[in-house]
Symmetry: C2
Subunit: 450 residues, 2 copies
């Protein structure tokens, strides 16, 4: 063979970054393309959304992560499509040729066809989402504090979280913690513990992937933080004044100025660029499921394109139990590692081999010192589950530095119940209304001095 084998990775999330790092000693040239200049530790994003951590605590600049990996180049940019025949990734700044392509473009929010809900109920995928939620939640309490009308105050003190999966549960728990503990003594007119936090789930259970009795324990932990779980409650209406729920055919309106979205995601639109244009699919051709995920071969390659791998949340592969592998970080990380190994094996003349997922468990935390966890056949709740959660998440933060600082921050938060990152930022300072009247500007600046 002639030139060095070029591996292009689209997406620096858990799967893409893991693949890049696992190729460190491989005889290849790695290009990692991402729209953002940092890897985000998404499982802790809800802690940014509730003021416990800063964005930088859970983000690692991709260039810093890969700076000692001389065979890796980070490119800041956005893939707009693929030229599969010509083996090129298309971007606005030009095409990037590859010998092997790894697509790890992830997912985005899905509002069930109600795109107008997006502005009303922010989801939690990006750093900007997290600071938007933080701003909305903090402003809700500020508005309640200055409300003069009792009904208006109640609507500001009602926060609806849509979706009873892990994200919804963790977000609801953290907001309950904020209202019950962090805000203690902070306000003079309202009692923040009177906040009504509603976790709304359309199906008849929350945390459906967890075995009994964990969902029930989670509901009890949430109740202690003032969170009411409403199952069998389908969201059918949403505006700035509140939500409309359908509960077994009965419609109910709840006045709430703050609604947060944790209800669903769909695959990145880049998945569609990997399959032949619409029409009856040719046998053996790549295809998408209804959520836009790419159906991959057992070795994670795209049907008909053994040189293209699809991994992470964008890929759809059934596990040993016949169920699709869940869209969680451990699956993406193991897939990234598998693909790196497959590339090395192929370069040595071998074959890629089927991917096998090793499930080490799952966990979700509920406020301070409470969580639910499944580790193998072990089911944990309460403090022990929370310690396990703490340990696993600290160990997995990409950079050593983040671990130390996050641990220091958490230790402080734990002892004081304070959350120092509760800053209302990113929008005009005074929430309602416009800028103050600007009278004629002065003639000269203040002379420099210090």
């Amino acid at each position: 063979m002639g030139a060095i084998h070029r591996v292009v990775i689209v997406g620096g999330g858990f799967g893409g970054l893991q693949a890049a790092r696992a190729l460190k000693r491989a005889p290849v040239e790695v290009t990692l393309l991402d729209r953002r200049n940092f890897h985000l530790f998404q499982p802790l994003l809800y802690q940014v959304a509730t003021g416990a951590l800063s964005p930088a605590n859970i983000a690692s600049p991709l260039r810093a992560v890969l700076k000692r990996q001389r065979n890796a180049t980070v490119v800041l940019g956005e893939a707009t499509g693929f030229d599969l025949a010509g083996r090129r990734v298309l971007t606005r700044e030009g095409a990037i040729p590859y010998d092997t392509l790894i697509v790890a473009a992830g997912t985005r929010h899905h509002y069930f066809g109600h795109d107008d809900w997006e502005a009303l109920a922010p989801g939690l995928k990006t750093v900007e989402d997290a600071t938007t939620i933080r701003r909305r939640v903090l402003i809700a309490f500020e508005e309640a504090e200055r409300a003069t009308d009792a009904a208006d105050r109640a609507a500001w003190l009602t926060i609806v979280i849509v979706g009873g999966g892990p994200t919804g549960v963790e977000l609801a728990g953290a907001i309950g913690e904020l209202a019950h503990w962090t805000f203690r003594g902070n306000f003079r007119r309202i009692d923040p513990t009177q906040a009504r936090i509603l976790l709304v789930e359309g199906s008849d259970a929350i945390l459906t992937m967890y075995p009994d009795p964990l969902p029930q324990r989670a509901i009890e932990s949430l109740a202690r933080l003032g969170v009411t779980v409403l199952t069998g409650a389908r969201l059918v209406g949403l505006d700035a004044e509140g939500v409309v729920l359908d509960r077994g055919g009965t419609r109910e309106r709840i006045a709430a100025h703050t609604t947060l979205w944790a209800a669903g995601v769909v695959a990145s639109p880049l998945g569609r660029a990997l399959v032949p244009a619409a029409g009856p699919a040719a046998p053996g051709a790549a295809s998408l499921d209804r959520a836009g995920r790419v159906l991959v071969q057992p070795d994670l390659t795209l049907p008909g394109h053994p040189e293209v791998f699809v991994i992470g949340d964008l890929a759809l592969l059934n596990g040993a139990d016949g169920q699709p592998l869940p869209g969680v970080a451990p699956v993406a990380i193991q897939e990234g590692r598998h693909v790196a190994r497959a590339i090395v094996r192929r370069l040595a003349g071998g074959s890629s081999g089927a991917f096998v997922y090793h499930d080490h468990g799952s966990m979700a935390t509920i406020g301070r010192a409470a969580a639910v966890a499944v580790i193998g056949r072990l089911k944990l709740t309460g403090y022990l589950a929370w310690l396990a959660w703490l340990f696993v998440h600290l160990m997995n933060l990409v950079q050593f530095e983040s671990r130390v600082l996050v641990l220091a921050q958490w230790a402080w938060n734990y002892v004081t119940r304070n959350r120092s990152a509760r800053l209302i930022t990113g929008e005009p300072p005074a929430p309602p209304g416009a800028a103050p009247p600007a009278p004629e500007p002065p003639a000269a600046p203040i002379p420099p001095a210090r």
Copy 2:
């Protein structure tokens, strides 16, 4: 006397917050009005702008700071004017009556009549300013990395900082540090140490408030970080492609895609609301200087209104040397404390007394382990000055928590020369161009799983 004495403070910066805290044991009711929900430690804002610290590291939620002070109420809102005769602060949500008013509304940027420069050259006053500068500087290096044209690459690698006061010097030093040390090994096509960092000053010296030889030492420290100081260089033109400097009558165009503003501030427009409407000033009436600052009496009260104090950067008072007191944190803090004492003395039947500023020195830091400092008659440079700077700033961070975390972060930054908070956030992910083509949305979300 009947009802409790009401003190309203406009502005939660150094002066306003200090006044509120110093009134803790006073027989008064304190209302602190601010547009933001946090106090900002502005002297370290340049470290946020250059990715060394997170906004939350240098911001303290006002409600948290004052939560144990039962006589203090925080109101999130914006003063739009004053009814001095009726003794009320006007806000969009209604008027707040006072018996004593403390106005500590601070300053804002001043672009010498070139308001169009504001969007081109962001200043450094708020958290949003800092993250804007951070984004611009980081994107400049990213654009240089992907530039295909040599002239374009050079323009991206040229960063102009306008203003040779402490803010400009500290910002330039930190950007030099970023280019020379933090980015080492991060890029594959550009050499970040080749960045051209220009500190442009209209007068013939930088750090004019410091005695010789400190300005010269600062220039030498800056040079070691690749910063070129251009004195006697007046900015006469600014657009997205670069700046035009007037150097002793000769005009010079410098191609630069990134220009930052550290050149001047003017007083808050609220100052104007404190003086009688334009026209020949009545004898003894309040008035403003050309920069919009309010000329105050020796006891910091507004002429004609002994119940109104003006403090901090908004106030103009001459010091013992006949020169106006500088607009720095120590002046504002001492003024806040003076006013609190004056209020207590008056309530006890005494008088407010003249304010006397005690100058404990000034310091500016230049990158890692270099600074200039004046402490009494002591002049320090280099490492020792930097240690003094470190100590003073750590001790002054409002919350104990911030001190510990900032120290941990700085220690880590010092050892590794890393800056983990270099996140490009707050704007559409891919810098140039629009969102990718969104093909028809999928029919169903990915089922919840974990």
